[in-house]
C-alpha cells in the first residue's frame, strides 16, 4: 500500500519535472525568436518543411470530410424539409470545430512527428552537441525557427481545411444532391458570423499550433539520444498533441460559444 503511494508520488513528481523542463525550454525558444527577424530565411526553410509539405494531406482530408458531412447532413435535413440550410450546417461545423481540430490532429501526425524525429535524431547523432561546440546555440538555431514555422503554419492550414471542406460540401450538396446554389451560399452567409465563428475558429487554430509545435520540439529535444528514445518521443508527440488538441478544444469551445 505504502509502496503504491510512493510510486504514485514519484510518477507525479516526474510529470511535474517534465512540465517544468518543457516550460523552461519554451521560454528559451521564445527568447530566441527575435533573432529570427534578421535571419528569416531559416524560418522560410522550415515553413516549407512544416507547412508546404502538410498541404496535401490537409486538402485531401478536408475535401473528403466536407463531402461526407454534406452527404450525411443532407438526408437528415431533408426529412425536415430544410435541406437549404445545408450550407450553413456544413460551414458552421467546419469553421467552428472540424477545421481547427482535424487540421490540428493531421498537423500533429504529419509535421509534429517529423519535427520530433528530426530534432531527436540530431540529438542522437550529436549534431546538436557539435553545434554547441561551434558556439552556436541549437535552441536558437534549430528549435526556434521550427517553432515559429509551426505556429505560423497552423492557422493557415486550418483556414485551408475549412475553405476546402466547404467547397467539398458544395460539390456534393449542390452538384450531386441538387440543393439550390443560391440558398446554399446565402443561408451560410446569413448565419456564419465573421467575429463569433470565423475569428474564434482561427484563434483556436493558433492555440493548437502553439501547443502542438511546443510538444513536438520539446519531445525531440528531450528525447533519449538513442534510436528507441527517438521513436518513443515521436509516438508521444502524436499522442500528447492529440489529447491536448481535444482537451483545449473543449475548453476553448466552452469559453467562446458557451455564453449563448
Amino acid at each position: 500500500m505504502i509502496e503504491a503511494i510512493r510510486l504514485t508520488g514519484e510518477a507525479a513528481l516526474r510529470v511535474l519535472a517534465r512540465l517544468g523542463r518543457a516550460t523552461l525550454f519554451i521560454s528559451q525558444v521564445i527568447a530566441g525568436l527575435p533573432m529570427l527577424l534578421r535571419r528569416f530565411s531559416l524560418v522560410v526553410t522550415q515553413l516549407y518543411e512544416v507547412g508546404v509539405l502538410s498541404i496535401a494531406i490537409i486538402v485531401i482530408s478536408a475535401l473528403a470530410v466536407g463531402m461526407v458531412l454534406s452527404l450525411q447532413m443532407f438526408y437528415t435535413l431533408r426529412d425536415f424539409g430544410s435541406e437549404q440550410i445545408l450550407g450553413q450546417v456544413v460551414a458552421l461545423s467546419l469553421v467552428r470545430e472540424l477545421g481547427p481540430v482535424l487540421a490540428g490532429l493531421l498537423f500533429a501526425g504529419r509535421a509534429g512527428s517529423a519535427l520530433t524525429a528530426e530534432i531527436g535524431l540530431m540529438k542522437a547523432t550529436e549534431q546538436l552537441s557539435s553545434m554547441e561546440m561551434m558556439a552556436v546555440d541549437p535552441i536558437k538555431r534549430v528549435v526556434a525557427p521550427r517553432f515559429l514555422a509551426g505556429v505560423l503554419s497552423m492557422p493557415l492550414l486550418a483556414a485551408m481545411f475549412s475553405a476546402v471542406g466547404i467547397l467539398g460540401g458544395y460539390l456534393v450538396g449542390v452538384g450531386l444532391l441538387g440543393v439550390d446554389s443560391g440558398a446554399f451560399w446565402s443561408l451560410m452567409q446569413a448565419n456564419v458570423d465573421f467575429y463569433d465563428d470565423i475569428l474564434n475558429g482561427i484563434l483556436k487554430s493558433v492555440v493548437f499550433g502553439i501547443i502542438i509545435t511546443w510538444i513536438a520540439v520539446f519531445e525531440g529535444y528531450d528525447a533519449k539520444p538513442t534510436a528507441e528514445g527517438v521513436s518513443r518521443a515521436t509516438m508521444r508527440t502524436v499522442v500528447h498533441s492529440a489529447f491536448a488538441v481535444l482537451a483545449f478544444d473543449f475548453i476553448l469551445t466552452a469559453l467562446m460559444f458557451g455564453g449563448r
Partner: protein, 268 residues
C-alpha cells in the same frame, strides 16, 4: 606546470552516480604540442573533453583555458571561448540536412559576416586541406565513415581554432584512413600553429605523433611523459596498457560476486 600551457586541469572531480570519471585529475596541455590522453575504454575520456568544452560541469576542480576557468564562465563568455576550440566528434556529427560544403561553411556563416565568395574560398581551402575538395557537393549520407570524419575535421578547423580536440579519431577506420588522419593531425597542428589533444585508446598511432602522453585510469593520471619515457616506464599500468597484456591492474573480469557463490545460489 609549464610556463606556456594553454589548458590546465587541476584536481578535477566528476562522476556519473557510482561511476567515477575524474577523481582528482591533474592535466597540463602545452601550447603548440600534440598531447594524447590514453586510457582503457569506459574511463570517461569523452566526458573529459566535454568538460573542457564546458558542455559538462565538473563537480569540483578547475579547467583553466587560456587563463579563464571554464566552469565559472557565463553563457556568452563560454560561447566566446568555444569559438577558439574545435572538437572532432567520434560520430563525426555532420549535419545530415546540409551538403559537405554547407557543413564546412556552417561555423563560418554563423560567426562571420563574410561575403559568399569569401566563404566559398575558405570552405574550399579547408576541404583541400583534408583532401576532399572534390566532394563539396555530396551529402553526408553519400560519404564513407573515413570521409565523413575528414569533412568533420575540415568543419572543426573552419575558424582556425587555437585548441583542437580529437575524440577517438582512429576508431573504426581502415589502416589507410587511419594513417591519413594521423598525418592530417600532425600536419594541421604544425602548419596552423594549433594545440592538439587526442583522446584515444589506440597506442601506436597516437604515440607516433604525440609530444606528450597522459595515461589515465579510475579517474586519475597514472603515468605521464613523452612517448619514450612511457615506454621505459616501470608502472604496471603503463606496462599492461602499452604492451596490450590481457590481465594486470586492469582486470579482465567486470567486478562481480564470487563465481562459486553465484553458481550455487541458483541451485538453492
Amino acid at each position: 606546470m609549464s610556463s606556456d600551457s594553454i589548458l590546465t586541469i587541476k584536481n578535477l572531480q566528476f562522476s556519473y552516480g557510482a561511476r567515477i570519471i575524474a577523481d582528482g585529475m591533474d592535466i597540463d596541455i602545452e601550447r603548440g604540442k600534440i598531447t594524447t590522453i590514453m586510457g582503457p575504454s569506459g574511463t570517461g575520456k569523452t566526458t573529459l573533453l566535454r568538460m573542457i568544452g564546458g558542455q559538462v560541469r565538473p563537480h569540483a576542480g578547475e579547467v583553466r583555458y587560456e587563463g579563464k576557468n571554464i566552469p565559472d564562465l557565463n553563457k556568452d563568455a563560454l560561447l566566446a571561448a568555444r569559438k577558439s576550440m574545435g572538437l572532432l566528434f567520434q560520430a563525426s556529427a555532420l549535419f545530415t540536412g546540409l551538403s559537405v560544403f554547407d557543413n564546412v561553411a556552417f561555423p563560418i556563416r554563423e560567426h562571420t559576416q563574410l561575403s559568399e565568395q569569401m566563404v566559398s574560398h575558405l570552405v574550399l581551402s579547408k576541404l583541400e586541406a583534408v583532401g576532399l575538395r572534390g566532394a563539396a557537393e555530396l551529402m553526408p549520407g553519400e560519404l564513407s565513415g573515413g570521409m565523413a570524419r575528414r569533412v568533420a575535421l575540415a568543419r572543426a578547423i573552419a575558424l582556425d581554432p587555437r585548441l583542437m580536440m580529437y575524440d577517438e579519431p582512429f576508431v573504426g577506420q581502415d589502416p589507410i584512413t587511419m594513417s591519413v588522419i594521423t598525418r592530417l593531425i600532425k600536419l594541421l597542428n604544425d602548419s596552423l600553429g594549433m594545440t592538439s589533444i587526442i583522446v584515444s585508446h589506440d597506442v601506436h598511432d597516437a604515440m607516433a605523433i604525440s609530444d606528450f602522453v597522459y595515461l589515465i585510469a579510475e579517474g586519475k593520471v597514472i603515468a605521464s611523459g613523452t612517448p619514450e619515457e612511457l615506454r621505459q616506464s616501470e608502472s604496471p599500468w603503463a606496462r599492461q596498457f602499452l604492451r596490450a597484456e590481457p590481465d594486470g591492474p586492469v582486470s579482465f573480469q567486470y567486478p562481480a560476486t564470487d563465481y562459486q557463490t553465484d553458481l550455487f545460489a541458483s541451485v538453492e
